[in-house]
Amino acid sequence: MLKVDSLFKSFGALLATDNLSFQVKKGDIHAIIGPNGAGKTTLIGQLTGEIESDSGSILFDGNNISGVPVHLRSAHGLARSFQITNIFHDLTTWDNVALAVQAHAGHSFHFWKNASKERELRQPALEFLGIVGLEKRAGFIAGLLSHGEHRQLEIAMALATNPKMLLLDEPMAGMGPKESLAMVDILIKLKHKLTILLIEHDMDVVFTLADRITVLVNGRGIATDTPDAIRKNPEVIAAYLGEESYHA
């Protein structure tokens, strides 16, 4: 589904992505873990096109998408959620998702018909809200929802763009235990229906959900393997898991 090959990116003297290569198989939940500053968010930026790579290639679903602009990557079927909540605060929850549906329903040079009464936008939007459990919040102004609900809304919006692959940048960041559990449930529901690249700090979550894990340290991929193998990998334990696993 996704093949990253010898990707580089430096900011001045800092190598944020250093000869990174890995593959994500179709239908998998593939997690990227690594300590703070390992280059996880830079990698997401490179995948979505917001950050230009210095060199290397990104093959997505058989197409080389390096150098393709952001909005076209979305058209290819790559959707993302953001580490920091990124929604339309002054629109309703329903409008938020309907806009995401609209983005992939042809061009938007429709000047006359009332978009909030178009069934082909509103109905699918409501279904996606249902998947993430927000249908009761449809009419609320999105800015007024709780933090956890914002993250759920983000997932609904990403799903509404009808993606082949979902990039989730720390979907549990800042969530309470109850909200985290709800999010895990949502991701379990989505598992195997579409490919998910998950960047997450919470090791419990990662080892529960992921089919495969890539460990990133200082921009380099030091291992890509199944959760069990990663747990036992001495290099990973030395670099990262050793300390962290006791917290979990």
Binding site: S74, A98, L99, S108, N114, A115
Partner: protein, 333 residues
């Protein structure tokens, strides 16, 4: 539609605007027809600016340029009609068509360049373009230069509407305002409008879900300019005089003030703002020469205490009203 103080206010305002010439004639004060006519024309300008400023978040500081373009279409046409006897150049339909074409072209060029920037740079570039066209008009001696052009006749609408009469011009303005409001209403609720509003709210997100934002913003920019160009045609007929100052940046600033004062991003806000602005100008300048000394602080107060402008205050009044209305809504958990 539920009746609330805000709705009632807006209905009374619009009905009131509809009967101004009748009242003015009845009381023998035709001056008020002219004054309110100006309000209508600037309302159209503010409504068009609100499309990009209020709904789209594009702070164009050069919107008066289109008023100028529309005005000069009338000024130049009429000049040739009167001085050179080319009568068809005074035709109002032709002048409106030309105003649409040239405003759209100007909007396309200005928008295509300025929309590549954001924030302060966008403001500065739109300002620069408007000042550029202002100086073109100042330097163009053939069409009056700095002094401008006096119109010896108003546009001719093939005898369909005779706007040489102030009252019929008033109603032409009024109909144009209603049309621009209806057009705005359709636009902002369409898919196109949702996109423009979404881009104002969160542009990065719009790209991430797959919208090519730039081209839509550009179209919105062109539409807003075009509507304002038509207001320019009306404005020249109203004042029977065209000069470069109509494009001056201070005039663009006034359009922004009207829109902000009335309420950004609401349908009727700009109309309320334009009426309030001109009314205060008239009222305060009647009291003192230094009226701006009082107008300025009032504006500051509105911006600080009523984020949504006058329309925002009305919304606040509505909320207060529904809380205190005798028929209590049932409490929801």
């Amino acid at each position: 539609m539920k009746w609330s103080p805000r709705i009632i206010f807006i209905v009374i305002l619009m009905l009131g605007l509809g009967v101004v010439p009748l009242l003015a004639d009845y009381f023998g004060e035709p001056f008020y027809t002219v004054m309110f006519s100006r309000m209508l024309i600037l309302s159209i300008g503010a409504v068009s600016l609100n499309l990009i400023l209020g709904f789209g978040g594009m702070v164009s500081f050069g919107h008066a340029v289109y008023l100028g373009i529309g005005s000069y279409m009338v000024g130049i046409g009429t000049m040739h009609a009167v001085e050179d006897g080319i009568e068809w150049m005074a035709n109002g339909f032709l002048q409106i068509a030309l105003a649409i074409v040239f405003s759209a072209l100007a909007g396309l060029v200005i928008g295509a360049i300025s929309l590549r920037t954001r924030g302060v740079y966008f403001i500065m570039i739109t300002l620069a373009f408007s000042q550029m066209l202002y100086y073109v008009a100042v330097g163009n001696e053939k069409y009056g230069g700095d002094d401008g052009l006096s119109l010896y006749m108003r546009s001719d609408f093939n005898g369909l509407i005779d706007i040489s009469n102030d009252n019929s011009l008033y109603y032409l303005n009024f109909v144009c305002l209603l049309l621009s409001l209806y057009l705005s209403h359709r636009l902002i609720n369409s898919r196109f409008g949702m996109l423009i509003r979404g881009a104002k709210s969160n542009e990065q997100r719009m790209r991430a879900i797959g919208f090519p934002v730039f081209r839509y913003q550009l179209v919105a920019f062109v539409i807003a300019g075009t509507i304002c160009g038509i207001a320019g045609v009306l404005s020249a007929n109203q004042t029977e005089f065209v000069n470069p100052s109509v494009m001056h940046w201070t005039h663009s600033g006034e359009l922004i003030i009207m829109t902000v004062l009335g309420g950004l991003g609401t349908l009727f806000g700009p109309v309320i703002g334009a009426v309030a602005f001109l009314f205060l100008e008239e009222f305060l300048s009647g009291i003192t020469e230094y009226w701006q000394l009082f107008f300025g602080p009032m504006l500051v107060l509105v911006v600080i205490f009523a984020r949504g402008g006058i329309d925002g205050m009305l919304v606040g009044l509505d909320q207060w009203w529904s809380r205190n209305s005798p028929v209590k809504n049932e409490e929801v958990d």
